[in-house]
Symmetry: C3
Subunit: 350 residues, 3 copies
């Protein structure tokens, strides 16, 4: 895919300084971009790279009134845009249009059970196993080595695999993307104590995943004991996240890698959980909550609040705690000095 700079400027709605006839054939980060490549500058941390970049052209914000334009390496064209990052994403899509889905059809090595319902344009790849009563809606793509258990449903245009495992009676919405290694519908971790042993509690519920959800690699989502473990529309889940039985997650949440959410906890919508956060069971996390990385949550969190620490407290408080904690050895020395001053005073007054 090749565009002239003039054509790119037009498509991105950017103002060009440079030779509009130059051709661009790809995009790259500013540190590594070379001739013929387009890059961008959005994070001021990288401004210095402007001086040395070998990119053909760079998208950047127009100079603010009175501010001097940053120094730019000779021969680099500029595309001024109010939102350089957004313009760059547009360019990325121009140069890398979404690849066409694999061709419709069921691979001869795939196993299709009784009463499976296949919509139009469905693709089922090599060595897939689709058990009985499964529904694969229009345009569903099941990539190599993926297993879909009995009576599960995969919505239209969803893509699973390769090497994904969805067990029985799970419902996957439309345009869902499930990356390799994910397991959806494994048994919830439920046991009843009986004479010092752990007796398995049947896990007879399912998993419901809303439209436009994305699950990263090796995410595990357990089925509910009864009812449904549920992931709301538009929620994005990163690699190696654990979602326990009967968890409910709202819409448009961002859940970063290695988070663990324990059983029956309810997460609101637009919640952000940063990497390695752990949340105990049976809690309610309100809408728009943000939890910083590695935090441990052991109580309900009201909507719109921001949390840090293990156990977590509100971010502003925890930041003061951290500052105080890091000076604690000094504080203890200070206390000893005060004690000496008190002892001296006491001696004087004896």
């Amino acid at each position: 895919m090749t565009f002239t700079l003039a054509e790119l400027a037009r498509r991105l709605g950017a103002q060009l300084t440079g030779d509009g006839r130059a051709t661009i054939n790809g995009v790259a980060p500013i540190e590594t971009a070379g001739p013929g490549q387009l890059s961008f500058l959005a994070n001021p941390k990288y401004t210095e790279y402007l001086k040395t970049t070998r990119a053909e052209a760079v998208i950047l914000a127009p100079p603010i009134n009175g501010e001097p334009r940053p120094e730019v390496a000779a021969g680099v064209s500029l595309l001024a845009h109010q939102n350089p990052y957004h313009a760059f994403l547009q360019a990325l899509s121009l140069f890398h249009p979404t690849p066409a889905p694999p061709p419709p059809g069921v691979d001869r090595s795939a196993r299709i059970g009784h009463k499976v319902q296949l919509g139009g344009r469905v693709h089922v790849g090599p060595n897939c196993v689709i058990e009985e009563n499964v529904t694969l809606d229009d345009g569903a793509v099941i990539l190599a080595g993926t297993y879909v258990g009995a009576s599960s449903v995969v919505g239209a245009e969803s893509m699973l695999g390769p090497n994904v495992t969805v067990l029985r009676e799970c419902t996957i919405g439309k345009r869902v993307r499930i990356h390799p290694g994910c397991v959806v519908g494994s048994d919830g971790f439920g046991y009843a104590p009986r004479e010092g042993k752990h007796e398995k509690i049947p896990q007879v519920g399912g998993v419901t995943i809303g439209d436009d959800v994305e699950l990263g690699a090796c995410v595990t989502i357990d089925r509910a004991t009864m009812g449904q473990t549920s992931i709301g529309r538009g929620t994005k889940i990163d690699n190696l996240v654990q979602i326990a039985h009967n968890v409910t997650i709202g819409e448009d949440c961002i859940i970063i890698s290695q988070v663990g959410i324990s059983g029956s906890t309810k997460i609101g919508s637009h919640v952000t959980l940063a990497g390695q956060v752990g949340i105990i069971g049976h809690l309610e996390i309100g809408d728009n909550v943000v939890v910083a990385g590695q935090s441990g949550i052991s109580k309900d969190l009201p909507p719109g609040t921001v949390w840090l620490g293990s156990p977590a407290t509100e971010m502003s408080h925890q930041k003061r705690v951290i500052v105080a904690l890091n000076s604690l050895p000094e504080t203890i020395k200070h206390i000893r000095a005060l004690e000496r001053r008190i002892a001296e005073l006491e001696a004087k007054l004896k």
Copy 2:
């Protein structure tokens, strides 16, 4: 599966208040149960749902002497039982009897190596690979896409898969359940330093998993350098847990999601490790130890103790530390105030 309420009361040993001829066809959580469904109340946190539940009947504890019976929605029958949760689990099993294992037989796409010993009623699903000298005991079930390496043994009635990987020379006991994505017998993480590089130490031991163990999805258990990595009878391990080489775990432990146990550590029996706990190598953790979520363990723990924090201390101590820590910014202000008072005293005595 349908039962009358009278029949259910008899089977569960519960006392019925309501119409014994009413029929029940399933179980559900109290918030979502509807007509024809049975629910239960064990956690007082959910008592309020009694007023609004649409369940046909609810199992709950008989009223304690003198205590008023809680308000219950009109038309809801009650089943009084000393242990409502236990009675409910019984009901769950009545309505959802353990599904029959898949029919015996080896799928035509499965690959069976030389000298494999197959017991009676063994099931091997599509695309499984069973390498040479493997033993699959009576009633073993190997689900689609599962790999069992050379000279490994799978005990009677154990179920692996789909998409499980058990490597060579691993021994799996009876009635073991291994969920999708698990890897048993990967090489231990052992390297010897040599001139700034890391030279691989051969990992020639195995993995031994006792009877009645359950491994959740994507659990990884490394083989021993020499000898065995060993999981004791009845121990239950949740999703995404890491067990390093030469770890020994006792019987009937509960190990919750995302725990990591480093090499050669010995864990006793009846130990509980909550989510995201990390334990360093070469430690001894006594019987009946409990470690709270996200704790970090870097020393031996005596039997029967309870731990919290990273690095962990005994729970009761750590709880006082946490209270003190959260007031630390205030404490520092307090110290400054004391210092002013000392300075005033000093000025008076100058």
Copy 3:
């Protein structure tokens, strides 16, 4: 494999005390070794086992001048060597030579796409899927159920699988070992906010893995948004580690289980990250940095430094913080006592 003790002493360069004609047929840990087995003592923690071991022979350090030789069980031969652990590793390799790779050839159930280039002695196991334009160099071994996406390259003598997923356009070096359950090349976790929703950012870069890298079970490595996510030569990564998009890791690093590294962070060479460490995005971690287990890193770390805590500080500082923290409840009592003394002084001076 059997050796006489005299032959072993010669091969290991050790000095024998005992019967050189005795035969050794294997190696074992000192606690469990029996007749005919060789063991070793390197960690003084295990010296007491010398008194009770049933091993045929034990490798240990020669006595230091004047030091009494430790008590050893009757009949146990000794092999004195300056580096008992290293000598033992040599013995381990003698008794367990690296197993021959599986025989060259492509299994009849494997799927090989168009224009795949196969080097000499390549092995492709059952149910593997090798997509179009893939290169498998000389001696590459692709084990059962492994998927290699279009245009990816697997270097000479590398071994992947079973049940590994490498997606499109990834480059794997020579002698790389990728254990089961790994996912290489899943999409980076990148979304742009748009009207309260998360719009997927195309992830069009790749993954480059250097020579002699080892990835443990269920490691996830995301492809770059643009450019490459890159793991340097000789770096060893343990089970269940998460490497986000555009991360760069240097050479000969040791990254222990369940570590998570966020997007665009650059890790130097010879870095050690202990278990469950989390590192936020866009950081620079210098060469030879060591980070202790469960630490959280949220700022750049200079070369050669050692870190602990969440958020981490330099190890020596953090250790003092931990000591101070654990005595904080006592410190607060102490402050109260000081306040009482101040109040008494104030009363006297009123």
